[in-house]
Symmetry: C2
Subunit: 112 residues, 2 copies
Amino acid sequence: MSDARRTDRRFHALADPTRRDIVRRALADELSVTALATSYRMSFAAVQKHVAVLERADLVTKRRSGREQLVRSSIDALRSVAESLDQLEEVWRGRIDRFGAVLADEAEGDQQ
Amino acid sequence: MSDARRTDRRFHALADPTRRDIVRRALADELSVTALATSYRMSFAAVQKHVAVLERADLVTKRRSGREQLVRSSIDALRSVAESLDQLEEVWRGRIDRFGAVLADEAEGDQQ
DNA sequence: GTAACGTGCAACCAAATGGTTGTACGTATG
DNA sequence: CATACGTACAACCATTTGGTTGCACGTTAC
């Protein structure tokens, strides 16, 4: 999968409060899909779909244990999302640096 | 607008490569909608819609200058997205801390 | 004043999203 | 073995998304 496509999926997966909550809870503990589902006012199938969206984005992984499927969040995937934001932050800093350079040039021009 | 709703919109807005590119370019420079639009292989109206999505998410602001509308990204909004990821990171660290505590307890139990 | 430019917006369309119910199947429990 | 549990998945539906074209309107340039 292309990098951009993966980033798309990750941001998209996080653009829903239920899914962010699932990620949060599965960061703290490993939980079965049913255990997760009891917390939300929607059908089990709906929660299962949310987990599938997170799984396709690699934000969570599942591990079978008997008849349960245990969901765990991937801190690495979350960090890679944070990283794409950091890249933007760097672009912004670059702009400031150039702005600073212009000011320095002007000061140089002004000096006697 | 609720906090969650705003977070939804921001993640959603960033879940598209064209929009992330617009944010990136408007972080480095202030650009008109038309200037932005020339870079992408889609209609002006489509780009305009992307800018509108970013605007509703407060990720960019527009400033009128003559007949042009200059788009600039908001570094603060980007940082607030990064912040919601940091909160998840903290949950994860909390889990590790508890895990560490369990190990410490076990060690304590083990000690002679 | 007229023509060209930059923008906003409505109408339309195909595809994706987010929910539902129902069914099927492997696993545990009594 | 029979029943309940946990999960997966298909079919269906309303809404949203992401694109298009066309038109209107204010601003600039000639």
